[in-house]
Amino acid sequence: MVPEPTYETHRAMPTLTIRYSGMFDFDGLFTMIARWFKEKKFWYEEHTYKHTLAAPFAEEEIGMSGEREVTPFVKFTIDVTMKLWNMKETTVTFKGEKKKLLTGRIEIKINGAVDIDYQKWFAKSKIWRIVADFYYKYIIKKTIEEKWEDDLFTLMSQLHSKIKNFLEMGAK
């Protein structure tokens, strides 16, 4: 059996959380996040959609994720989970136009990870594992920790502030 590398190859970033209670345009938010993934050249997919009706309110859980190949050796993954509670649809007139908005509570969690050697090139044999450990620890360590991890966290922070701007939150 090929041993696991001593250097962590799935490098998870800290979670960014937004919680908001009030009125918001959910369709707009959803489209904005999906468009952001496409703009930043992520392979976008929607992996979870749950809708629960607990009258008079509804609950929803949506999971979206995006993957981007940085090099054939490194991959970025961003996962966005949205949970909605006490959802209720309301119609509002905004600048003379009727718009459907949602009132309720929303929690958005942004998770991200840098995956190194995601194609498992170094998982072929024990010798390759030793080579990989040496490569990670002494050759590519700075690039992983100071470039790729920083790049991904900057992307996550950009999405985070974009969502805050969209929800017109006070601290943005």
């Binding site: 960014l16 908001y20 209670s21 009030g22 922070s157 939150m169 006070g170 601290a171």
Partner: protein, 165 residues
């Protein structure tokens, strides 16, 4: 788990009155970048209540001093009953916010954040021995550094809210 030492405990600032919420946030982020801290916003919550908006922000900015020492601040900001108001200043109307704010700052020194010396019990023992005995001078030096940063931020926030008046 990396070892965390609490260096500055619950440095609290409270303010009630007029302030610019967006300017406050920008000021804080600018302070982090000028003082070489990586801003990490762990939590940002906003609730609409009958008395205005309640906002909770939890920031965990950090600064890597060396490969072994890392300074972390935990900043909890609570805005209660924030309402938008229009104020006239030098014959021009400006939009500000009115409400109550409480800021609590903690400072931590994290050692061995890369978890290299935690793979084996013997390695961990040597790490402790070096931290507490041989490199005590360095540990104290970085503890002092993060404590200074916490008080520097506290002063900066006091300046922002004009509490020196």
């Amino acid at each position: 788990m990396p070892e965390r030492t609490l260096v500055a405990d619950h440095i609290t600032l409270t303010y009630s009155g007029l302030f610019d919420l967006n300017a406050f946030y920008r000021y804080l982020m600018e302070w982090f970048s000028t003082n070489h801290f990586v801003p990490y916003e762990a939590r940002n919550e906003e609730f609409a209540t009958s008395s205005g908006k309640d906002i909770i922000i939890e920031l965990l900015p950090y600064k890597k001093y060396t490969d072994h020492f890392k300074g972390i601040m935990k900043i909890e900001i609570n805005f209660v009953g924030v309402k938008p108001v229009e104020v006239e200043k030098h014959a021009t109307k400006i939009r500000l916010n009115k409400g109550f704010v409480k800021i609590v700052i903690d400072g931590y020194l994290e050692t061995e954040y890369e978890k290299y010396w935690e793979r084996k019990a013997t390695l961990f023992f040597f790490k402790l021995l070096f931290d507490k005995l041989f490199f005590k001078r360095y540990t104290l030096m970085y503890e002092k550094a993060i404590k200074q940063d916490v008080y520097k931020l506290y002063d900066a926030l006091q300046h922002f809210f004009n509490l020196y008046k």
